[in-house]
Amino acid sequence: MRVILVTGANGGLGQAIARSFLNESIENFLWLAVHKNKKAATQLAEAFSDRCAVLNLNVAERSDWEKAVRHILEKTQRIDVLVNNAGQHQDGLLANLDDAAWSGVLSINLDGVFYGCRAVLPAMISQRIGRIINVASLSALLAPAGQANYAAAKAGVVALTQSLAKEVARIGITVNAVCPGYIETEALAGLSAEERRSATSRVPMRRFGRPEEVASAVRFLACSEASYITGSIIKVDGGIF
């Protein structure tokens, strides 16, 4: 059995990642970490009740991580893959950005990844194998106006990914990141028709990505064929650069 923990598992991207692993192999056991909203994750866990379970986890809380990892190890004895997918954005021009919008976004997007990686490392070191995949963002690389907090957090995730990859490579743990561009999830639901047209025109493929296309990259980084890939940043963005 391969044990996989996906955070932010209630959202569109988290759901696609979880389904991708569930469809990949009946040997995969999925822990769906959710906070506040859990309806979609609960439905998925009910549909795959023999190899899928929901876990309450506020990624920004260190103690939540400690409890969650303890629970996982009690129930499934190991953690093979961690997908740090939970994220949040509160966009606004920096001049108008209040402290809560800054610290809240940094806390969920960057602190959460730090706590998550640190929490699973002892188990992965003990197993001498592990895969960590951090979901960053194209914003980490392009740093658009109006996303100083989100871009800084995601750029931090990219740097954390590469630094940690070097630290644990010799133990058999790989650490990689994916940077999704415009993906059809709830994050884009608030765009007006004009905003969608404008955004689409910036994508060489002239369309937004599907969550499943990001999930495929995540699943690849977790598979045995990706054993020599670590510290890599994979853009899934339809060709924006």
Binding site: L121, P122, E167
Partner: protein, 89 residues
Amino acid sequence: MEDANALKERIKKMMVDNLMLQMSAEEIGDDLPLFGPGSLGLDSVDALQLVVALDKNFGLKIPDPGAAKEVLQTVNTIVAAVQKKLGTT
């Protein structure tokens, strides 16, 4: 109950196996510093692996970097910490 010498050899073997050291357990001196100049040459990642291995093999929990610095000085300091945990001193 495991005597001190047997425990020492077991800990040295654990270090060789877990840290993939290019030497035999017998070549590790009991009082050889593990970190720093003139030492066995371990680094912080090795320290992390040792902390995990000591917990897994002996139930010895090293809760913070300060405690790790105390325990992970030499093989002898590790042996002392494990003996204390096992109640064999």
